[in-house]
Subunit: 162 residues, 2 copies
């Protein structure tokens, strides 16, 4: 499998997971959190999948296509561990989806960050809400969801809050 | 179609075209030219598709994954319009495939560059060799090839030298 094959496969898995979750959360009211805006492609996908939902975006800085940058009232700019507590104070447990795409090339660092993020996400996720993460992120209050067809195990991780 | 959908579709089209051409050039000896290394994903795909072929890479600077950087003897670093004449002097009309992925966000600039590149590529392409370009690039000595199934018109352009 070439790096091109592997990249396409990762993007297809990401899209399949987001499409799958959009259905899973259809009956629950609340905002969506996009953690890691990057180039804004998944933000754009989420807003096309979930029209009318507020989407709150977290990133250290904005590098996205100008069409894919939310207004200031939907942005939490800066270090994630500084800004998630602000979001918890503002939103409480109301988020129906947290899409967390924060992986770097360093697996040990990714695992440490994911472990530190889980308890913060737990304070934001509404009952029945879903975390879709590029990193494994177990939490006592969450149940792992099965992946959609065609997504290989370990490619993405889906958790649902009880 | 979201930006995620559109990005996946572009990458799938790129892969389909490269796979299609690998078959089309199977019977012709000669090197492959990768114009625009970028992150090295298509370079990696080309070397997995075409083992044993020399792949010569052109880019302004190296931003690729270290695994996807060829040795110095296969690199033409610097401005393309400075380095293509060096390649013409060294290789003549021996290339079996020129993969040209040079598009920027500026369509008018892309068109100007593609028009300027075509006569240089024509001096590198062996009879029967193929140009795969992300830009339209007509040349008198080339015949446009049909795209593989599933690739929408205008997404990629394939030309074969007579």
């Amino acid at each position: 499998m070439s790096r091109l094959d592997s990249f396409i496969s990762r993007l297809e898995a990401q899209r399949a997971c987001l499409d799958h979750i959009a259905t899973a959360i259809a009956g629950i009211a609340g905002p969506v959190l996009e953690v890691g805006l990057g180039n804004g492609r998944t933000y754009d996908h989420l807003r096309s999948l979930l029209p009318g939902r507020g989407i709150l975006v977290f990133d250290r800085q904005i590098d996205a296509h100008p069409d894919c940058v939310p207004d200031d009232s939907h942005l939490f700019l800066g270090d994630l561990f500084d800004r998630l507590p602000d979001a918890i104070a503002r939103l409480g447990r109301t988020a129906v989806l947290i899409h967390s795409d924060i992986g770097t090339g360093d697996p040990a660092r990714n695992a440490r960050i994911a472990t530190a993020l889980a308890p913060l996400y737990a304070q934001l996720l509404a009952p029945g809400g879903v975390v879709a993460s590029d990193q494994e992120m177990p939490a006592a209050a969450w149940t792992e969801m099965s992946l959609p067809d065609g997504v290989p195990p370990g490619r993405y991780f889906l958790y649902r809050a009880r």
